[in-house]
Amino acid sequence: MSTYVEQFPAEARLVRSAMYTAFVALGLGAAFGLLQVLHRTNVLRVIDSTDYYTILTLHGVLLVLTFTIFFLVAIFTWAITTSLDRPLPDHRFSWTWYGLMTGGTVLAAIPIVGGLIDQIDMSAAVLFTFYAPLQAHWLFYVGLALFVVGTWLAGVDWIRTYLAWRREHPDERIPLPTFMVLTTMGFWYLSSVGVALSVLVFLLPWSLGIFEHVNALLTRTMFWYFGHAVVYFWLMPTYLLWYLLLPKVAGGKLFSDPLARIVFVLFLLLSTPTGIHHQYLDPGIAEGFKYVAMTNTMFLLLPSLLTAFTVVASIEHGARQRGGTGRLRWLGALPWRDPVFTGMALAGVMFAAAGFSGIVNAGLNVNYLVHNTFWVVGHFHLTVGTAVALTFMAASYWFLPQVTGKPLWGRPLALGQVLLWFLGMTFMSNAMHRGGLAGIPRRTAEPQYNFSFEPAIGSVAELDAQVVLGGTLLFLSTVLFLTVVLGTLRGGVDPTRIPANTYAAALSEAEDGPRILDNLRLWVLIAVVLVILAYAFPIAAIVDRSGWLGPGGSPYPQVVWVVEYLVVALALR
C-alpha cells in the first residue's frame, strides 16, 4: 500500500503535467468568465463589446476543452495504470500525445488572442462551436485538429496497456476503472471523427481559400454529431470519480459493479446518435429526424438516473458503516469535513438540478421556450461548470498528494472553496435559468435592447445582481483552489501522511454481472450501427438539398462587413 507516485513515478510525472496544464486553463478561463459577467451586466467594462466574443471564445475553449480534457487524460492514465497495476508501455509515446495536445491548444489560442491585438491580422472569435461561415484563422483549425489527434493517441496508449494486460490475464474480468476508460474512448473515437472530418475536409481548406464556400448546415450537423458526445467525454471521468473515489472517501463500497458497467455501455451506445437534439430549431432537417434524436436523448436519461441511485447508495453504505442511522439522518454521519467528499457530493446535487433543465432542453418542442437563451448557459454551468469542474477540483485534493507525494495544504481552505463554488453557482445559474425564461439571449455582450425583458419573477436588475454575485464568488473560489494547489506544491514530500492509492471496492462485484458486459467489440459495433441509423439519412438529406459545399455564402469576417455595419448603424440613428 503506497501512493501513486511511489508506484508509478514516470506516470505520476505525466499525470502531474496534465493536471497543471488543466489548472492553468482553469485559472485563465475563470478570469475571462469574471470579465464577461461584469461586462454583460454593465458593472465594470475593461473591454470593448466587440472584443467580448474573443474573451468568450477563450473562456469556452480553455474551460470546456483544455481544462476538462487535460484533467481527463490525467484521471484516465491514473485509472488504467492503477487498476491494471502496470505502467504505460512506452513513455516517449505518452509524452508525444501530451505534446500534441499542448501544442494544439497553443496553436489554437494564438489566433484567438490575436483577435484582441490590432497589429496582428488574425482572429478566431468563433466560439467553442465555430459555426461556419463564421471563419477563424487557419491556425485555429490546425490547433484543434492536433489537439484531437493527441487525445486519439492517448487512447491508443491506454488500449495498448490494456491489451498487454489481457495477454497475461486471458480470463479475468476487465477491472472497472479500465472498463470505464475503454467504453469512454469507444464513443470518443466514434464521435470525434465527425468534427475531425468537418475540420480537415471542409473548414481548414476553406480557411486557406481552397474552397469558396462550405455548407453551413452540414458542418453544423457534423459539429453536433461530436458536440453532444463531447459533453459525455467531460462527464465520464466525473462519473468515474463518483463511482470509484466518492464511495471510498465516504467510507463505503460501490453499490454495484455490474450496474456501473451497464451505465457505461449505455453511454457508449447512446451518447453519439443524439446530437441532432441541439438542432431542433434548425431549418433544413425534417421533424422526424428530430423526433428520433429526442427519443434517443430521453433514453440517455436512464444511465444518469441509474448512476444517481448507485452513487447515492454507495455513499449511504459509507454513512451506515460510519454509524449513520435513520431514513435521512445518516446524511449527518458523512465526512463533510473532507473537501474531497463535500465537493463531489455538492457537485452531484447540482447535477441533479441540471438534470431537469437538461430534460427541458432535450424536449423537442419545449425547446422553443429556451433555445439559445440564458437558460442554456445556466444549464451547462451546472453540468460542465459544476458537476464536472467541481468534481475535478475536489478530486484534485485527493490526486495532488497521490501524484506529488506532498500532503494536502490548507484543508479548511479547500472545504471553503467547494462550498463557495456551490454558493456562487446557486445564484448564477438560478438567475441564468430565470433570465432565459424571460427570453434573455446567451452569447451577447449587451443584453440591453430597445425593448425590455420581463422576467416572471423580480426584475432584470435583480437577475443581473445575482449573476454578478455568483460570478464573483465563483472567481474567488477558483482563486482559493489555485492557492491550495500552490500551497500543496510548496510543501515537502511526506508519503506517510498520504492515504494509499486505492479505489472503492464493490458490494456486488464484477463476477455478479454477465460476461457479455465485457464484450467491448460487440458494444462498439452496436454503437456504430446506431450512429449510422441516426445520421446516414439526415446527412444524406442535407447533402441532397444543397451539396457538400453548400448553396453559397461568403466567409465572415470580411472588411466589407464593417462598412456595412457603419451604414446600418448610421441608418438606425
Binding site: 459555426y131 461561415p133 454495484s256 422553443y368 433555445h371 439559445n372
Partner: protein, 167 residues
C-alpha cells in the same frame, strides 16, 4: 446478476419518467399542435437573395382574408425589415433566411424562436391575438456586432393595419 429490489423499483420509476417526457412531447406535437421548424421550404442561394422573388423584396404580404406572409432577411447585424407590422387576430407565416452567417429569429417572450441558416429558409406559422409589441433578437452569435441585432414585431388593431405599397 443481483439487482437490489429498491434499485429495480428505481429503474421502473426511471422508465415512467422517460415515458412521461416522451408522452407529453408527443401530446404537444399531436394534440396541442406545436410544429417544429423543418425542411419544408426549398433551399435558397444566400449570395443571390436579391434575385429571389420573395427575399429580393422582403416584408409583409397578404395571402388570404386573415393570413399573411412575412419574408425576413437576416444579416450581420440586423433584420430586413427590422420592424414588422401585422394585424391582430391573424395567422402569420414567417420565412426567414440569412445572407451571411448563422443567426436566429427569436420573438422575445414567446415560443416563436428559430435558427436562421444561410441557404435554408426557416418557415413558421403563428397565430396572433390582441394588439401587442414584441422584441425580436438574434440569439445566435453572428459576429462582433451581434448584440446590436434586433427588430420589433408590432401587432396593430385590424382597423389600423395597412399593407405598405409593394412596388
Amino acid at each position: 446478476m443481483n439487482v437490489h429490489d429498491y434499485e429495480k423499483l428505481w429503474i421502473g420509476l426511471s422508465m415512467v419518467l422517460i415515458v412521461l417526457f416522451i408522452g407529453s412531447i408527443t401530446y404537444g406535437s399531436v394534440v396541442a399542435g406545436v410544429v417544429m421548424i423543418d425542411d419544408a421550404a426549398d433551399p435558397v442561394d444566400p449570395d443571390a437573395l436579391g434575385d429571389h422573388p420573395d427575399f429580393g423584396d422582403p416584408g409583409v404580404t397578404q395571402t388570404g382574408e386573415d393570413t399573411y406572409e412575412v419574408h425576413v432577411v437576416a444579416f450581420h447585424p440586423g433584420f430586413n425589415p427590422d420592424v414588422i407590422e401585422v394585424p391582430a387576430n391573424s395567422t402569420v407565416t414567417f420565412h426567414v433566411t440569412s445572407m451571411d452567417v448563422i443567426h436566429s429569429f427569436s420573438i422575445v417572450g414567446t415560443n416563436a424562436n428559430s435558427m436562421v441558416i444561410p441557404g435554408e429558409v426557416s418557415s413558421m406559422t403563428v397565430e396572433l391575438g390582441a394588439p401587442n409589441r414584441y422584441g425580436i433578437v438574434c440569439n445566435e452569435y453572428c459576429g462582433e456586432f451581434h448584440h446590436l441585432m434586433e427588430g420589433e414585431l408590432v401587432v396593430v388593431p385590424e382597423d389600423e393595419f395597412e399593407l405598405e405599397a409593394d412596388e
